[in-house]
Amino acid sequence: MVGVFIAHLIFALVMLGMVTGIIAYLILLERKTAAWIQDRIGPNRVGPQGLLQPLADGVKFILKEEFMPIHADKILFILAPIVIIAPALCGFAVIPWGGDLAAGTALPKFLGGWAFPHTFHVMVANPQIGVLFVIAMASLSVYGVVLAGWASGSKYSFLGGLRATAQMISYEIPMVLSLLSVAVVAGTLRLGPITDLQATYFSSVSFLPAWNVFTQPVAFLLFVTCIFAESNRTPFDLAECEQELVGGYHTEYSSMKFALFFLAEYSAMITGSAVAVALFLGGWHLPWIDQLLYHGAQPVATGWLGMLLKFVVFWGKVIAFLFFYMWVRWTLPRFRFDQLMNLAWRGMIPLSLATFVMASVFVYLRQEGIIEHRGWLLLGNVVLIGIMFAVTELRPADSGNRRMYVLNSRYNPIPASAKAELESAV
């Protein structure tokens, strides 16, 4: 059985290389997207269309001077970027990148022709607690942020670290609950089977794929919001908002140490998108076209060609999701900190708890044999959204969140009634 272990190990190293390579090009993609949205050209000097820009960035990061403030806690200061990059680079281990390779699939002749004795899961490892592993690796990154903010000895870093910690731990709870409401319906914590269950349609006559985004849209929205907050991306980038805190927790970092924070953020983005794709967007399932290719449901275990198709489809979905990240970053403005905390504690946590309880009720009724079809889950979600809007209407208005009118402003002018009041007061 050593062959199976070695196959997994090789796959792990290939994925590690692939993820780090994609991170480098994501930074280019981010800058190109920003340029596109802001109607600029973007980086185009290094190589054709700026395609060698990541290499130039890497070399420049390595050759830059390292800087450490004199009051910094030296050990923790050096440790922080290492602590943040290590878990960020192994969160993708439990993602089912391409379904299964059927037992007996052989390597090509020039590689020895070794055949897999069992079904090979195209993932680094398939532990029984896959969802828990993802959550654990995502929440370990908070240590790096805390250490960086504390060890720098700078006020900007400290405030940024404090904010980032409060934000990341607050959004962790709805993230976990939304993941668990998917896991409870699937009845497993492995990511592979949860993806496999989605590779079908709502019913034999329906064209809607049975992806969890369609059966549990509330959980999907909660999860997407949370991964934005967990990776400190706009509109939740209060930890490093340039206008207030310079750079937040990595203000004092330079050269490769700074780059490691950057890489960890993009790595968290990739892992987050991959989890969203695997758990909510059908994973490797290619909707509609699979009917033409296989004359039926797309099989979980296939040969090399089927596996490659799944792999490409999965990465296509991930890249599309990453583009969505960037689109949001250059479209939405930043939240205020009280809005951020209100959204988490007064909005998303009760909603995610309700989603979880509703998913449990669905599973209970299914075990009782009362309901069978997954459409009931969608109906429950719609009802939940209705209840949410009704409760929001009933909730007392927030005193801290009022509109401020600005004198002589084109965008937010003082209304005529208020103007008359102001003038009479003067």
């Binding site: 390595i62 079904t119 700078s154 900007y156 914590l189 310079v246 780059a259 504690w345």
Partner: protein
């Protein structure tokens, strides 16, 4: 240990349950090595010019005022405490999930009624604590 684990492991083709964790450990070490190597390489290759002004922390160009290790707002502490309550609750839910919807063990399937009831009671107790904290103004940020 072999009795419970064998059927699933046979599918994966591993000879021992620990091989999965060895793989994950190797991956973690690779990530750690990536971080350490990058820090060391840039330390060796980068220039180093020190000076009194340069070594001080960045405070928008003026001389640093006061100390950083100062008292900060108590709300962050409250958030951390409430987070602990919810995080432990979520940890309780994870083993509950793997036994609630488990078709492999008939005795677990037979007990799904009490299992469902237990999580309802659990959530209601948590909800009471949540409403109490809301009433006390823990979630108030303005």
């Amino acid at each position: 240990m072999t009795t419970l684990a064998t059927p699933q492991l046979a599918v994966q083709g591993f000879s021992s349950l620990y091989e999965i964790w060895i793989l994950l450990g190797i991956l973690f070490l690779a990530g750690l090595g990536f971080g350490v190597a990058n820090v060391i390489i840039s330390h060796i290759l980068g220039p180093s010019r020190k000076g009194n002004v340069k070594d001080s922390v960045y405070e928008s160009g003026v001389n640093p005022v006061g100390t950083t290790r100062d008292r900060f707002n108590v709300r962050f502490y409250l958030v951390a405490m409430i987070f602990l309550v919810f995080d432990v609750e979520v940890l309780f839910l994870i083993p509950w999930i793997s036994s609630f919807n488990d078709s492999r063990h008939p005795w677990l399937h037979a007990a799904h009624g009490p299992l469902f009831l237990s999580v309802v009671i659990f959530t209601v107790i948590l909800l009471v604590a949540y409403i109490y904290a809301w009433g006390k103004g823990v979630f108030k940020w303005d």
